[in-house]
Symmetry: C2
Subunit: 631 residues, 2 copies
């Protein structure tokens, strides 16, 4: 739809997914990277109109000023898929009017390239970052010879250790990614080794106070050139060996405010930059609920791959829209839950392509997993740790997504083991093997695929959809049938004691955090002055089902009236006295209201119930009206 | 992941979306179509390794036997994106062992090419089709000169008119698509004109009894080479001028069994064919609930475009998996609701590309619509009615999807008007105009974006999520606050009279069909021997909320006990006597359990309620404890 041509520095996997989005909107893209079979170039046929056999893409390095200029001469707008580019040259082609725009701004790219400058910028804007200080000269242009710098830096490390304590994180200011350029200084004795590992005095360094985080969080934010910012949902990222391994969307934490705060901080941070495009904001969630920005990438990011399958607009299409000045797309999740797992090179390339085949084998296993989509980047060569592809998994609940992910993770583990020990691919990692075994894979619509706890006791599922609570363990005999029904339907649930009168704070916390933890309904049982269901309903927006428990006096009518006669504004769904079975069935109907697999399971349950009674009808016909007496 | 190369006959939009799926799995595709910039070729760079500047794709017609053979020599598996290919040559390259497989089987393609043979095959297999008969000789090889055939055909039409009555549908047996090759014979006088329009005696014809359908339905089915079939959800297709205009997924009909039956018939039909791949089954839904197969396409289909954004595996990836013998992917919807609308060429191409620009302008308007994804096919030339692109819209409910679709439909109407009357593109159809007005587009998470009825009265939304029912209009005063709350939250709902005791059949029908109609919760009010909520709950798997209505005696306790004391197995969610406000709030909490926008809206409502009471606290502090008396 756009006649303007977009040029991209870099044609790796991020460029490839960007090209995919651009093709769908008929936007012409020209790419700068080495070779003519870089991942993004493979899916973008760009024949030269003037010279037969030539491509309009540029063959060269995205760090080469001449090549950047050559690309600029062919396009209207420049953007990047990697920040390790020549920002000075980008500024120069912009100043010379060779292009209408560079997004993000070259000055933003330069700022982000220097991680110390980035930190300083953010903290000056009032954004939360871990404590940090320059190690050696703050101004990179005052760097001297490596030996002098090394001495300065050693002094700096010791100052930092004094200020922040040990361990501390020593980081290279530039050329750092995927954990490269970081060194953990655990004692002063590590100093020389650390400086040596980080360029031996040839590069600028800085130190950061050790952030003992409980989770790593990431937020993708798209920024229009007019300054509008839209955050995607906050996600949890799990790193292994400093490389992104898994991403879970949305972020689940006990504190309901964290997700919102993460998005707000990310939007505020991205609003401080000029230019348009997508930015990836990585944060640390500390034990006290504080969020610290770790670093920002000025481009689509690994932690945003999931948006292709899981959000209303992918990060790639939103990046395209932003750099072209088109309206930004919705960043909302369109599915209830998603995960992403990277496929990393298992070994360096060999002649016969075995390393690539072994690396990509887990993608074959993913074909039998409902909701899984494999993205392979078309990289011909492999090296250990190289990003070769990823798999996104979507589902109706966190529990379902985690269960689906297990198959893929098992395949990844198997492939890793294989790469270490050697040997041929086992059947489970070949297409034939997967075909042979795929008949045993449970149907995507069966409720059994939604759940079954992994390791924890079955009344304490790590990703519960329903919570059963009661004021005291004396209510357990009445409430257990609810647990049994949920188990029968494979609903992930948790069961616990929460007392309105004896643990009001716990009740408040439980109710307020329930939605952020992924719960979709709460069943609360209570007897006598049965306040629990109503007081929980007063502190959560989720549906609360109340089970009146019959006490030793008043036949349960006291509990029933306490639970059902709620004031206007705060509803409780009451079921019959002592009938926790129906409470669980109602919770499943609530789940089934939006998830067809539970709706189907409930219909099946009702059909079976009808058949059972019809069986009794037949028996009565056969044995006579008094068969019960005859038994 | 697959080393086998797939060849495709045709490189239009279907081939393009197929290539997209293949690239993600690193599967090499070679395409046969005219030119080197056909839509699918644009996104598949295939440089020849032997001859510089050459592409490995084939430049030529997919109906040309020599070109088919040339393609076959380069690939391992052949498939098609269009059925008007040379099936004999496909059989021949298979017989010669030039490829490992052709999918679907050439014999299946040949069978489907002849629509009369297709009908005969289906009816012989016991599948439901409209009555039909050959017009002229049944065996196409007995066709003679055009004049003789015409005479035979005129005789045949008159026989058909006798058997089926008028009007009847006269159809060309071959080379028919998008309504081309059909002629409605309304009276015997139309016969000559009809035969003339359908080849003037040069082609075989057949007649079909007029199918007075109430809806057109389509089901995509993927078939593995081992015969496993998996249907996608049944969808409603809306045709304009015999060309697919809009698709709605899933199909909504009052009869809960139709959707399932459509899938079953489609799976049965596809199971009768050999070979692997995706098939599009088009059906007519008749007034009596009967389903008739209209025709079958042996390939991905326009009515399955929506699967890219809305299903766990797209029809294109499943087609790829099927032809390669890989495990089939899940066909389940991953979003609650979706729609697809085609962008058709508005005029024949002009020199300055105005026709293309005007045709594609509605895609620009779609950028401001949350949940919309535009797919433009990269066709340089335009002609009236040519498929140039499509827009898919996903959302949390049918109501939300229809509302989002309205903006796109308005833009399409505007563009059509413009093409007829001439003139420049209005601001609403240009990127600049959309940017300028996009700030007024409501946030995707606001509940207001989910609803607001279109034309019907607000208590009878055409795509309701909540149904309010009561036994008599005397219950209206008690039940109206529920309607007001739903309106306040912009929940699409319907309100009606359903009496358990006076209209038991209506109640049964209402309850059983509620899920198929898209309802997610039912609020039922009843007084006295209040059976309605429980009897509805006994006949639907949805959550049912009961409102006990206070009668003139017993203070409503009779209704409360009738509603709440349900037997084990069938739950009703009871609220307080006469408290329909809470019933509606509970229904919204049920919606919010899966749809974050309603959860947020409920939290906001609760926060406002708290603020309101805090205001009263302040007032009491200012005015004294007896301010109420002083008023």
């Amino acid at each position: 739809m756009e006649k303007r041509v977009v040029g991209v520095l870099g044609a790796g996997q991020l460029g490839r997914m960007f090209v995919e989005a651009a093709s769908r909107l008929n936007v012409t893209v020209r790419l700068l990277d080495v070779g003519d079979t870089a991942p993004a170039k493979q899916i973008n046929y760009a024949p030269s109109t003037s010279s037969k056999g030539q491509s309009e893409h540029i063959d060269g390095s995205f760090a080469d000023p001449a090549k950047i200029k050559e690309l600029a001469s062919k396009v209207d707008i420049l953007t990047i898929e990697i920040e390790h580019v020549d920002a000075t040259q980008l500024q120069s082609v912009l100043d010379q009017g060779l292009v209408d725009g560079v997004h993000p701004l070259p000055s933003t790219i330069a700022l982000i390239q220097d991680k110390y400058a980035q930190k300083k910028h953010l903290s000056e804007k009032g954004l939360p970052v871990a404590e940090y200080m320059a190690v050696g000269p703050e101004d990179l242009s005052s760097l001297k010879d490596a030996e002098t710098n090394s001495k300065d830096q050693a002094l700096g490390v010791s100052k930092a250790a004094e200020a922040f304590g040990l361990p501390l994180m020593l980081k290279s200011r530039t050329q750092a990614y995927d954990g490269k350029g970081n060194f953990v200084v655990r004692s002063q004795q590590d100093t020389q080794q650390a400086i040596q590992a980080l360029g031996g005095g040839s590069r600028g360094l800085y130190a950061e106070k050790w952030a003992k985080f409980v989770k790593e969080v990431a937020v993708m934010v798209v920024r229009s050139s007019s300054g509008e910012v839209r955050a995607y949902p906050a996600v949890e990222t799990v790193h292994k060996d400093s490389i992104c391994h898994t991403v879970f969307a949305p972020l689940r934490v006990a504190d309901a405010g964290v997700e919102r705060r993460a998005r707000e901080i990310a939007e505020e941070a991205v609003a401080t930059f000029g230019g348009a495009g997508v930015f990836g904001v990585e944060l640390f969630l500390m034990a006290d609920g504080q969020l610290l920005i770790n670093e920002i990438a000025p481009r689509p990011h690994n932690s945003g791959h999931y948006t292709i399958e899981a959000c209303e607009t992918s990060q790639y299409e939103n990046h395209l829209r932003a750099v072209l000045g088109l309206p930004l797309g919705s960043t909302a999740l369109k599915v209830p839950s998603a995960a992403m797992i990277n496929i990393l090179g298992l070994a360096d390339s060999d002649k016969d392509g075995e390393a690539v085949a072994k690396t990509l084998a887990p993608a074959v296993a993913s074909l039998s997993v409902p909701g899984a989509t494999a993205h392979l980047y078309g990289k011909a060569g492999c090296r250990k740790g190289r990003k070769m592809g990823h798999i996104t998994i979507v589902g109706q609940s966190d529990a379902q997504v985690r269960q689906r992910l297990e198959t893929v993770e098992r395949a990844l583990d198997q492939a890793t083991e294989l790469a270490t020990k050697g040997g041929a691919l086992p059947a489970s990692l070949t297409a034939e093997g997967v075909v042979a075994s795929s008949s045993s894979v449970s149907s995507p619509s069966a409720p059994s695929s939604s759940a079954t706890p992994k390791s924890a006791a079955d009344f304490s599922h790590p990703q519960p959809l329903v919570g059963i609570i009661m004021g005291s363990d004396s209510d357990l005999p009445v409430m257990l049938p609810a647990a049994e029904i949920l188990k029968k339907f494979n609903v992930p649930f948790e069961l616990s004691i929460v007392s309105a009168h004896r643990t009001p704070d716990r009740m408040r916390e439980y109710a307020r955090n329930a939605p952020a933890r992924g719960l979709r309904a709460i069943i609360a049982g209570a007897g006598g002055a049965a306040h629990l269901p109503g007081m929980v309903a007063a502190q959560t927006a989720l549906p609360v089902i109340g089970v009146p428990v019959k006490g030793s006096v008043l036949d349960g009518v006291d509990s029933l009236h306490s639970i059902v006669q709620m004031p206007r504004g705060i509803p409780v769904a009451s079921v019959a006295i002592n009938n926790s079975t129906n409470a669980a069935l109602l919770a499943i109907r609530i789940l089934g209201s939006a998830d067809p697999s539970y709706l189907e399971a409930m219909q099946k349950y009702m059909d079976e119930m009808e058949n059972e009674v019809m069986g009794k009808v037949d028996r009565l016909g056969e044995l006579g009206w008094d068969y019960v007496l005859k038994k």
